[in-house]
Amino acid sequence: MSFFKKTFLDNSEDELDPMLPFMSLLLIIIPVLIGNIAFYHFKSIEVNIPGINQDKNKPEQLKEASKMDEKVILQLRVDSDKLIFTLLNETDGQTVSEENIANKEEEFNKIQTMILKLQEKYHKLDTTLVSIDKKIRYEDVVKILNHFTEIANHQKKMTLVIMPQGEDV
């Protein structure tokens, strides 16, 4: 066999031999990867909305919340110039605390400090009601909510409930 190889086959084929299994592997892997390639990655922000016409469609989180005593709910009002965070007592609906943060990306790090403080103080805080000014662009809404959820979900899952506003009268 070696005589045959030396005589008739080119030496370059010897160099190819160790590469062939790797090449075969690549030829199998590459089509599989091409099939699953994602040219863009989606980011989704999960929000709930309260059901309007049927009682059974209320978010479960809200139903549970009503059963618990001494629970607080965070209310976030997104305005064009500021973000208003209001902490409400769920049983009597009274304002526990309120904080305003400027609606600028540079100021968003203040949200982190505030949320972490609230989550430390109120362990049952798991719901945020969000209302948004109608003039704000979708991009800004998504950026604010994304920033908020990334921080809030770090320790515990925070449920966002968007409050629809409807037509102005």
């Binding site: 999960e46 469609n57 109608k134 979708y138 968007i162 037509e167």
Partner: protein, 158 residues
């Protein structure tokens, strides 16, 4: 510039060696590119030409639960693969648009209820549209009993 064609037989032709190194380089680069962009999550979602999704910096990417796809553009709204609802001015046509939206969503929700699948609305909206339009869409969804929404955006490259 004419290309030269060899009429020599295979045995007469000078020994041509295939340089495998460059081929390996190309394949390795392709492999790395594909591995970086590989997605283990099946994404049955396309972004239509008429909208530009907002981009956000995201540390985590959740798998999508959507069963209902809603695309909101500057002048049209489309549900799943159904007919587009066109509008010139959302505010003046809001009542009709919301009625048509609610009708379409109710049909899909009924089908989902029969199949016992939860109705989760994946909302793709153009980055520049005002929240007013989104609010109308949310109201329509709420009116037919859809309570879970996924606000879609694109992950900004790191």
């Amino acid at each position: 510039m004419k290309s030269k064609v060899s009429f020599l037989s295979a045995s007469e032709r000078p020994n041509q060696k295939l340089n495998i190194t460059s081929l390996m380089d190309v394949l390795t680069i392709i492999l790395i590119f594909l591995l970086v962009n590989y997605s283990s999550v099946e994404q049955d979602m396309q972004v239509p030409d008429y909208i530009k999704l907002p981009k956000v910096q995201a540390k985590t990417l959740e798998s999508l639960k959507q069963t209902l796809k809603l695309v909101v553009g500057k002048d049209r709204i489309k549900i799943n693969d159904g007919k587009e609802i066109q509008f010139n001015n959302f505010v003046s046509q809001q009542a009709q648009i919301m009625e048509r939206l609610a009708e379409s969503m109710a049909k899909i929700k009924e089908e989902n209820d029969v199949n016992k699948t939860p109705s989760v609305l994946a909302l793709q909206a153009d980055k520049d549209i005002p929240y007013e339009i989104i609010d109308g869409v949310i109201l329509s969804a709420a009116s037919v009993g859809i309570t879970q929404i996924e606000l879609m955006s694109l992950k900004q490259p790191d």
